[in-house]
Symmetry: C2
Subunit: 395 residues, 2 copies
């Protein structure tokens, strides 16, 4: 068994091999603006179109459609708003349950709550840290009952409406298997694709396999709009409703303000969409650079018995949005000291999110056995992943 | 009685007297960027700080505090989000009622719904089109009962938690009278100050008299951040909770993601705050220019028996955010033709909002007699109000 200090020194040394030597601080995921960002943003300021009108929202949506292959994209104010609207459009009602992983960013669970619904936590598998389809199928056999009007939780009596897999750090969960479960149990499949713009599952872009999907363009993502997100769907009726709901449900009219339902102020401002248009033009190159950095990490960490670098599953091509190393079970106890030491050394690291079922707002929610979730929570560490770091490969 | 065509011709002629002759189309409220917008926005792009971190959010909040005199300002993603959080912080719970005017932008009612609460519509007075304090007091005497644990609606049995006056078009509602009612009936007073940045009630800035208040910086407002809003309060504990709730309720920690309640992704991105910092520097001059345009309209319309120009109440200094003329009762029937003709002539006009109680999502909500609301709905027309139009005065 390795000593703590030795593991820490070894890890910092391995990370330094992959990272620029001339930086006093290396962040986790910094945005990169090297395209037409200023040109498009300046155009907004020069023309005065920064808010709810202007050409960039439509252009950004069209470019997202072209890149992802989704029939429709609806730009919104952030990924949380995108998830919220996906759930509403899936028909999630107050008092129903939604199956989500516990190992996710808190937005997934929050969005379920915004609908007045209850998150029901499901277990992950150990390749992508995404939802484990086989375990989920077994679990539903035990606790759920399929009736003529949908799937019901036998223990709580509540309807289970939707299944929301999340593609952790950009690595695609096994969607074919999950889609089969969704079909069999009449669950609406919603992809939380917040982290996986630029990732592909068997040749299809993430967010195009669920009925509805949510993207995010927060500052930490592979491309950013400052704050922003998008809903993807192939269903025109759902897309039209998404646009309507996210723009205060106002009926089109030359002058009248008439709203036919309770809508949301979730539209993406034109200023932010302008940034997004420029960023999206660079996305293919950003994915390549993320993948080059990941390749370098993979090579350096490949013979390490204590830290394994997380790689894409065999069926997918990942954007490697956020790189991660996984401590071996016996070195898990060193996690916090390793985090402390790497951050002190100017190399930003952090653990994976605290699982939802271990935090106050969600600790009383229904859940299947989450042993693997809890085990990985103690062992996964994210390491620097900014696009620009991919430039060093081969130097 | 004037003929319709004559009224239309006369109105277009009066408007043209006040507006630039060389424009083929004059909008209602266009933003103006003539300060340091480019410099600040460019700084965000150059430094990479466009999203959740960066200096501009803090600077914008500090500048808002200085301008308004509010002890604390919390920048958020839009005015709707600001209202939502104000209501949550006021303690509004599902199944309670909130007193709001029916004559408002739909965000006021939507925000109540987001809390699972019920809008209860109150009548306006005819000076500011804001909540009528005297009528409200009489009404509450009849339908409400003050118990040891708050005010209750005798008819529905629901608790009435808060009162949300809205400052229509920037004109301050009579807050002293409304604050008295809030005190007497144990209602939390929340100002919907979305339209009234730059307006003052007896020397105090709007949004500083309620316990909590909401501002908006949408593209149509006197200053804009693309999309944005802010919460104002003098209460440090509420302000701290507002910041916490609007930033996903994450506890501060060097690396851990731990959220102690269901929060919201409502923070304003740094990019948008940068725009706001530059805009706020120009606000005093923008208010003056709005007031100059209003003065011109007031002079031109002062002898008109059919169209009266809406002016600030005697106790206030208004930002004249959005100018309005009010048709006399006998010419109200000409409203739609007048809207059609002015818009066809390239002068943008529109009617005041459809009252909430006349739209599907809110037609079944409790309401007092709303005769005046309905009467003004048919008579109020907004006319061009952009800041830049104030430059023509005196030419």
């Amino acid at each position: 068994m390795i000593e703590k200090k030795q593991l820490i020194d070894q890890t910092i040394s391995l990370l330094r091999d992959c990272l620029p030597a001339d930086s006093s601080f290396i962040g986790l995921h910094e945005p990169l603006f090297e395209g037409r960002e200023w040109e498009y943003v300046r155009d907004c300021l020069d023309t005065g179109w920064v808010s709810t009108a202007g050409q960039y929202v439509g252009r950004f949506e069209a470019a997202l459609q072209e890149y992802t292959g989704a029939r429709r994209a609806i730009a919104v104010v952030n990924g949380t708003a995108a998830l919220h609207v996906c759930l509403l459009l899936a028909g999630v009602e107050a008092g129903e349950e939604v199956l989500i992983p516990s190992l996710t960013f808190v937005a997934t669970a929050n969005a379920v709550r915004y609908c007045g619904a209850v998150p029901h936590f499901v277990e992950i598998e150990n390749v992508t840290l995404g939802v484990d389809a086989a375990k989920l199928a077994d679990y539903l056999e035990t606790i759920a009952e399929l009736k003529s009007d949908g799937l019901f939780n036998r223990l709580t009596g509540r309807r289970i409406r939707a299944l929301v897999p999340m593609h952790v750090f950009g690595h695609p969960a096994d969607l074919d298997a999950l889609a089969q479960i969704a079909d069999r149990y009449q669950l609406v499949l919603i992809e939380d694709a917040a982290e996986s713009l630029g990732s592909f599952y068997k040749g299809k872009h993430m967010g195009t396999l669920g009925k509805l999907s949510a993207l995010s363009f927060n500052g930490n993502k592979i491309i950013t709009t400052g704050g922003g997100g998008a809903i993807l769907t192939d269903d025109d009726a759902l897309a039209d409703r998404a646009k309507h709901l996210t723009t205060t449900a106002k009926l089109p009219h030359r002058w009248a303000f008439y709203h036919d339902e309770t809508g949301y102020n979730y539209r993406m401002p034109n200023l932010n969409a302008a940034l997004g248009c420029a960023q999206l033009e660079k996305l293919p190159s950003y994915v390549e650079r993320k993948r080059l950095l990941a390749q370098l990490y993979e090579e350096r960490f490949k013979d390490n018995p204590y830290l394994s670098f997380m790689t894409e599953p065999s069926y997918a091509r990942s954007n490697y949005w956020l790189n991660a190393v996984i401590l071996s079970p016996e070195t898990a106890a060193y996690r916090d000291d390793l985090l402390e030491a790497t951050n002190d050394a100017g190399i930003m690291t952090r653990p994976i999110w605290t699982p939802m079922h271990l935090m106050p707002p969600y600790q009383d929610c229904p859940a299947m056995d989450l042993s693997l979730t809890e085990a990985y929570y103690g062992r996964v560490i994210n390491i620097p992943s900014s696009v620009k770091l991919g430039d060093r490969h081969g130097e």
